[in-house]
Symmetry: C2
């Protein structure tokens, strides 16, 4: 669900197992007006400053008592008129990084899995895949993700039981916001928070469109959960675009392989994250942990595209006038994935905190 | 557990979170005498011809009735004197390939996860990680994987519940064989079979060694399960080595990234598989499915190594004298991962069957 286009491609009438070039002709930024604002308390601290006070309603696991379905391996609980969704995961050996904590791509996979199972559980599914309401299927409308932000307050480690809680809310009149928290199953402590903004596309014209009023009122609003998003962001901190002059490094000749195509026939999100994370120099990655990750998607990426990954790393310590990043510095990295002709696929900003 | 060296590196006394160069000075083939032989019925058919008849003892799920431990997300059942281990997985959305079936790297991850949990459950674990018996810890001995073979009879698909059943058996006097099957949780049908051979290394000298008789009798044999391996192989089909002349393609400049290092501080197995699978031309991968995978490990790979991936594809239809592979042909690909100086890391052979 968190791939740039997974809600789109599944509904293409000509879908088959062969990946095809499907580049969206128009960017997303022209329609999207993000409504994320940073609160006075700031973000990205280990405390929950910056989160809505409503999060307290989620702290006690027994506030959502009805288990409607339990599989052998995962706990699916849909309650409160299906407006909250919970799924439990146990961090597996191969999902842990060198320091035994959960890997970033695993976190994104957990978020995707819970979101996919949520929309399936409330019937947002048609013959072509998951995510579309019945009316959207009729009108051949689909979702595209415009932006995603994940804040890592704490990292669970190998063997930990964690619970993903997911819900959707409005994002202005023309978007929806998919919200998730990952919390410690034993203590209820919130470890990771995520939000993503999705907008609607007319699949016939391949152009973004407004959400039809009736569609919104009848099919979407019943599922909107009145819980403020857990992830806020200063609108001034929109991800600035890198270019040849501002990038530290440019990795060229990146090509999605057949193994990178998921069942939506798109390059899977894990591959985007790989291209971004692999561009990070060891000197930063081995001394810092990611404290937040912001992704802004512009275009779809096709199986046969050849891409470039640009990266620039800087300290957020303004005393380091030469821009050097030391082990004890907060840092940030900026990223751009683009086609060889310069067309932008996505940009990202990662905030890093010292490991010690 | 299925990484080339995961049983080794965890026991290094100098381990910390920074990956280090740890190249085994001596290959494995000098000690290992594989005892795998193909039966008259052949292998690699959708029927179970070629498997031991003992597999029938596993067909009924209720033959292993005692559930000693159940977590919230996975079912761990250790029974029969801890000589069989079972773990259930539900194939998640991000674990499916473009055709909705489970991806090959996910299969290897499931096998690793069950094996790691098995050896942990029987106490083969010390302060440095999983896999070592108490006596091995005292003598500073570790395991290295020499060979792995996986046979894909059928592919489970997204949402399917599957059960991994794992056990160990002897492999000559100086090795152990880790066996696994993946079966459909509902029908019990065997979908995937795997075996891997592990040999012992003296961690002080970094050389392979014989398993001490007492260690073998007291600590290992009680766990050997008298069930013939499910995977057989004609010894004449040892994986032949590719070189510059016999390879179709050579992919150069491959480097393990910090994201490829697992908590054993090794390049994780998924990365090896990626290097191999990404070298497969689309023309083969999109028309065929993998029917078997054989990996032979020679050396460890370190974080700072620069590698090459060699590939050669051929038909097994001897009528195609020009070697061309058509959509309806059985095919095979051979692979070599080596250091830039030519030192071999691993070789692989993959058998492919037409998708239709």
């Amino acid at each position: 669900m968190y791939t740039a286009t997974s809600f789109v491609r599944v509904s293409m009438p000509d879908s088959d197992i062969m990946p095809k070039a499907l580049i969206t002709k128009r960017g997303i930024s022209s329609l999207l007006k993000p409504k994320l604002h940073i609160p006075a308390g700031g973000i990205n601290k280990k405390s929950n400053v910056g989160c809505s006070k409503n999060l307290s309603t989620l702290k006690a696991p027994d506030t959502i008592p009805v288990s409607q379905y339990q599989s052998q391996t995962d706990i699916y609980t849909e309650t409160d008129n299906h407006r909250l969704y919970k799924q439990t995961f146990q961090v597996r050996s191969y999902e842990a990084s060198a320091d035994m904590t959960i890997s970033v791509d695993t976190v994104l996979n957990y978020l995707q899995e819970a979101a996919v199972n949520y929309v399936r559980s409330i019937g947002f599914v048609d013959g072509s895949g998951v995510g579309r309401t019945p009316e959207m299927s009729k009108q051949n409308l689909g979702w595209v993700v415009a932006k995603m932000r994940v804040v890592f307050d704490q990292y669970p480690t190998w063997n930990d039981l964690v619970q993903v809680v997911a819900w959707i809310s409005a994002s202005g009149r023309n978007g929806i916001c998919c919200n998730s928290i990952i919390r410690d199953s034993k203590t209820g402590a919130i470890l990771i928070r995520a939000s993503s903004i999705w907008v609607m596309m007319n699949m016939n014209t391949r152009r973004l469109c407004k959400i039809p009023e009736e569609e919104r009122a009848v099919e979407l609003e019943p599922y909107f959960y009145d819980l403020s998003p857990f992830v806020h962001e200063d609108s001034e901190k929109a991800v600035s675009k890198l270019d040849n002059d501002t990038a530290d490094d440019i990795f060229k000749g990146l090509t999605p392989k057949w193994t990178d195509i998921d069942f939506n026939l798109h390059v899977n999100n894990a591959k985007y994250i790989s291209w971004i994370l692999e561009s990070i120099p060891d000197s930063l990655a081995l001394t810092h942990k990611i404290s937040s990750l912001t992704l802004e998607y512009t275009r779809e990426c096709a199986h046969n595209d050849v891409l470039q990954s640009l990266v620039a790393v800087s300290t957020v310590n303004t005393n380091n006038i030469n821009g050097a990043v030391y082990e004890t510095d907060e840092a940030q990295s900026r990223h751009l994935i683009r086609l060889e002709d310069g067309a932008e696929i996505l940009r990202a900003r990662i905030e890093w905190r010292p490991r010690k």
